[in-house]
């Protein structure tokens, strides 16, 4: 087949390329073009070029800055701290645990991950509600109860994202830890290195690439969480759990400012692209 003309060889790429250009590259280009207009939900004909006005407006808009801050809190809490650390801890424990316990825990954690996003949202809504399971447990322990979705909505949705997303980190780290040769950890043990020192000096350096990849992918996933927060709090109360995706949605549809909403979307896309690029670089050094 080596004598096949170059064009004929590339032919099977056709459908995929057309689909990607029309429905992925197209919207991204369109996103760039309308982010600089005052396009509204009604009256398509009236939109006009406004330059950087949408972006200038965003950085003066307290609701936008609030959304940026909440997105940072949500990402750091749920992705960097929660999913990543808990995923690593579970994977490390699984290396030592007995097989039935490993299978059971793995099964439950992965089920939380496979469940549809909206269902996960409802389960954790029920868990955190005033009449919900968490307060029932707190009562039983004689601890003060809280109306979690009202007093600490960001914490509640962050925990929800940890519940839902930890399985991914756990699977990534389990695979990485499996690849560390047993002789190395055993040798360190013989030399008298304690658990924490082994973790810090041996395990973590050996899986650092998995850590990098995992952090990037977790962060990208967390940046685009919409359904989970929408179901649990609708971004509220007020705007106290309104991360960027929810803010963007509200501006575009509740306030009918597609142009402004798209400018915010473009910023989110740029941040995502940056992380995606770093992820790519990490993969490249690995190969």
């Amino acid at each position: 087949m080596r004598h096949l003309p170059r064009l004929a060889r590339a032919l099977p790429l056709g459908p995929a390329v057309v689909l990607l250009l029309l429905f992925l590259a197209g919207p991204i280009a369109y996103c760039v073009s309308i982010a600089f207009t005052d396009l509204q939900l009604t009256g398509q004909a009236h939109s006009s070029f406004v330059g950087l006005a949408n972006f200038r407006r965003a950085f003066r808009d307290e609701a936008f800055l609030n959304a940026v801050w909440l997105t940072v809190v949500f990402t750091v809490l749920s992705s960097l701290v929660g999913q990543n650390t808990l995923g690593l801890a579970l994977a490390a424990l699984m290396q030592r645990a007995s097989k039935p316990v490993r299978t059971l825990t793995g099964g439950i954690v992965v089920t939380a991950w496979v469940l549809p996003e909206v269902v996960a949202g409802f389960l954790l809504y029920a868990f955190f509600r005033r009449e919900g399971t968490l307060n029932a447990i707190l009562d039983w322990l004689h601890l003060p109860r809280q109306n979690w979705l009202f007093t600490l909505p960001v914490l509640a949705v962050s925990f929800a994202n940890v519940w839902r997303g930890t399985a991914f980190s756990m699977l990534v780290y389990s695979a990485a830890l499996d690849e560390i040769p047993a002789e190395i950890t055993e040798a360190a043990e013989v030399d008298g290195a304690g658990g924490w020192r082994r973790l810090w000096h041996i395990t973590l350096p050996m899986i650092r690439r998995s850590i990098g990849t995992n952090l990037m992918l977790n962060t990208l996933q967390t940046l685009s969480v919409f359904g989970l927060i929408w179901v649990m709090t609708r971004g509220g109360p007020g705007d106290r759990s309104q991360t960027l995706p929810l803010f963007m949605y509200e501006q575009a549809f509740q306030n009918s400012m597609i142009g402004y909403g798209t400018a915010v979307a473009l910023l989110l896309l740029l941040v995502g692209a940056l992380f995606s690029f770093v992820h790519l670089r990490l993969l490249r050094t690995e190969v």
């Binding site: 790429l13 369109y30 309308i34 645990a97 825990t105 699977l171 990849t213 692209a273 690995e286």
Partner: protein, 275 residues
């Protein structure tokens, strides 16, 4: 005295079981509430078993139509994704070209772009080209959004099929399309199953895309219609919500089990992530 291996294992088991219990609480709520005649918001042992909740939701309006919509939407988009990915992966895996590397890097870059971010412009674009509130428009967008990862996975699986097998077919005069369909694809059956199931599961659970691109209630898939339990049906019937959640979630959990059994625990996703 150093801790023995057995006591260390016990400590690990106990910690894992504690974590498992915490993760299981919300899952226990949905399972118990679904069969509880007086379900509320907290986990509790039902005061009697009932299938009334299932009976109540198993109507065309609440369950069958949304599930059928989900099936058409996700099935159609998955089929499109897998066919396009298999075709695209073939030249990328089999022929050397200067363009392969940049193409693959672009694809890999696109796999992790936050699709959520482009939904507002996609909505505006779909209004303009009259694709808004159409099944075909949503299917095409779903397929495009899943395609980068599908191409990447398929290409990696295809690389695992040795070339020699095809070369025999080539000398017999088979075209690339014939050797792809008759030789390569059958040999990478498990790989294709992973790509298919993964795409389908991602779309089945996706809320934002149909929420933005479809408007008519009759066309909504289960991921969007489930919100009606809160909106226009008055008092929230938690038992029914739980029963519907169970019905809606079961297919993806079964599919996941099916695929992970076949490929071992890691779902080959660890491998996919590492490239």
């Amino acid at each position: 005295m150093p801790r023995t291996r057995a006591s260390r294992r016990l400590a690990a088991d106990v910690s894992l079981l504690a974590a498992a219990a915490a993760f299981a609480l919300p899952l226990a709520w949905v399972l118990l509430s679904a069969v509880d005649p007086h379900a509320g918001l907290r986990v509790r042992v039902p005061d009697g078993l009932t299938l009334d909740n299932f009976d109540a939701v198993l109507t065309p309006e609440i369950t069958y139509t949304p599930l059928l919509n989900s099936l058409v939407l996700c099935g159609g988009a998955t089929a499109l994704t897998v066919v396009c990915a298999a075709l695209a992966a073939y030249p990328l895996s089999r022929f050397r070209s200067r363009l392969n590397r940049p193409f693959l890097l672009t694809i890999l870059f696109a796999t992790s772009l936050p699709i959520t971010a482009i939904m507002v412009p996609v909505y505006a674009l779909f209004v303009r080209v009259n694709l808004i509130d159409t099944l075909q428009g949503t299917i095409l967008f779903f397929a495009a959004s899943q395609l980068p990862f599908a191409i990447w996975l398929t290409k990696n699986f295809m690389d695992g099929v040795p070339r020699e097998l095809e070369e025999a077919a080539w000398t017999d005069g088979a075209s690339p399309l014939q050797s792809l369909v008759r030789i390569v694809l059958p040999l990478m059956g498990p790989g294709l199953a992973v790509v298919t199931v993964f795409s389908f599961v991602m779309m089945w659970g996706n809320f934002f895309v149909p929420f933005m691109l479809l408007l008519t209630p009759d066309r909504m898939p289960a991921s969007v219609s489930i919100n009606d339990f809160f909106g226009n049906r008055g008092m929230v019937a938690y038992g029914q919500l739980a029963a519907f959640s169970v019905i809606y979630s079961t297919p993806v959990i079964l599919l996941y089990v099916l695929v992970s059994r076949r490929l071992g625990g890691g779902f080959a996703l660890g491998g996919a992530v590492k490239g």
